[in-house]
């Protein structure tokens, strides 16, 4: 847990952060809005005091209320992982600028986020489905996409708690989706 790193981030990106800088174990997390992705990522990559040259991961997250795109970066200047969460994308039409201008390798990770969630990455030259067939209509990892077993109440469900079909509680019966509380 690198406290000076937290101070540096707050000093540099104060206005663009939409929440406090959180640290847990060896990870530091910042939240920004989707419009700030390009300047923040460029600053983190280019400025020598940050030097986040290695994009470790690009993931989409559906919290049930909003969508998020989460970037994990690594730099030799700090022992922590940096997690940048582009928060607040709408669930109906999630759009975020692409980081393929910086890392061409993000192209497929963004294709996967599009395929699984429907997040449109503006600036990605190749935003088509990567895992599912091209004529697939749904976005599988969204919280309102139910596996066939969960939508059913399978008569094969067992007796002991570990054997029961994991029907999401309060979801299928009422049509609600599983939600993550906003600060998590």
């Amino acid at each position: 847990m690198d406290r000076s790193f937290k101070a540096r981030l707050e000093r540099r990106f104060g206005e663009q952060l939409t929440g406090p800088v959180r640290q847990r174990h060896d990870e530091t997390e910042i939240r920004i809005g989707p419009g700030d992705v390009v300047p923040v990522i460029t600053a983190l990559h280019d400025e020598p005091e940050f030097a986040f040259e290695f994009l470790a991961d690009l993931a989409g997250v559906d919290t049930g209320e909003v969508m998020q795109v989460v970037y994990h970066l690594w730099s030799p200047t700090t022992p922590d992982w940096l997690r940048v969460i582009a928060d607040g994308l709408s669930r109906e039409d999630p759009r975020v600028p692409s980081v393929t201008f910086m890392w061409k390798g993000a192209e497929w990770m963004e294709r996967e986020a599009y395929d699984m969630f429907g997040i449109t990455f503006e600036g990605n030259r190749d935003l088509r489905r990567i895992y599912m067939p091209p004529d697939y209509q749904s976005f599988p990892l969204r919280k309102d996409f139910y596996l066939a077993d969960d939508a059913a109440r399978s008569p094969g469900a067992g007796v002991r708690p570990m054997e029961q079909t994991h029907v999401p509680r309060d979801t299928v019966a009422t049509g609600k989706v599983r939600r993550l509380s906003p600060g998590t």
Partner: protein
């Protein structure tokens, strides 16, 4: 667990039949879609007007038309080659059946598998073929790359819905007599991926299977035992290969 089964999901959450929209979801820069559509019409081909470029061949990209440059175009179009029941018929039937009585004894000792390793079980299949557990002792060493030269299709690994088409095409391309071995839990019944949205619950939903080898993955000795069972089966059924079932063999209530 009293759930009202006539209930339609509330609007806006995209999980019910009332949320169908007309816009295909695979085109970027379109307004977002609900997660699942359950529309009533048969899925029509998606036509996106092309404003980006011009093709040299005007017939290209017109939507799944057979190409004009294949000399087998007529044959492909008639669908004859894709039937799995092409048999010698009438008086010619006697030729394969009678000779098979002896030939099957020869075939059982030289079953050539097709290299069809999809996932983890493929590693154990390769392990069964290499020095420690040698399948060459039973004549099965040459893993043919082309389905035209293979006898046995050992499906090793999870079958997904995207791969089901190519796998069925491979099966159709193998000349008869042919046998199929389902290796691993995923091919027998779907295995640990039975609940997934993109896997096939067992390859017997798309092709007839002769031997099931369960395990995740089965040990190489297990696969060899399965192949020995297949040899026994070839011997028991010799001369009667045409009477085997064709096509998916899952009984109706399973």
């Amino acid at each position: 667990m009293a759930v009202n089964e006539d209930r339609v999901s509330p609007d806006g959450l995209g999980a019910g039949p009332s949320d169908a929209t007309e816009v295909p979801s695979d085109v970027p820069a379109q307004p977002g879609l609900p997660a699942t559509r359950s529309s009533d019409e048969v899925m029509a081909p998606i036509v996106v007007p092309n404003t980006l470029w011009r093709s040299v061949d005007p017939m290209a990209y017109e939507g799944n038309q057979p190409t004009s440059i294949t000399h087998l175009a007529e044959f492909e179009a008639s669908g004859l080659g894709r039937r799995d029941n092409a048999r010698w018929s009438g008086p010619l039937e006697v030729i394969p059946t009678k000779a098979d009585y002896v030939l099957d004894l020869i075939r059982m000792n030289s079953l050539w598998p097709l290299l069809s390793g999809l996932a983890c079980c493929a590693i154990e299949m390769m392990s069964a073929a290499t020095s420690r557990n040698d399948m060459d002792r039973w004549g099965m060493f040459p893993f043919r790359a082309s389905p035209r030269q293979a006898d046995v299709l050992i499906v090793a690994g999870t079958l997904t819905t995207k791969m089901a088409g190519p796998l069925v095409r491979l099966w159709e391309q193998m000349p008869e007599p042919k046998w199929c071995v389902a290796m691993g839990d995923c091919t027998c019944s779907g295995g640990r991926y039975k609940r997934s949205y993109s896997t096939v619950e067992g390859i017997d939903r798309v092709m007839p299977v002769d031997v099931y080898v369960p395990g995740c993955p089965p040990r190489p000795e297990g696969l060899i035992f399965g192949m020995m069972k297949l040899q026994q089966l070839v011997k028991d059924r010799r001369g009667h290969w045409p009477e085997r079932p064709i096509g998916p063999t899952v009984p109706a209530q399973v």
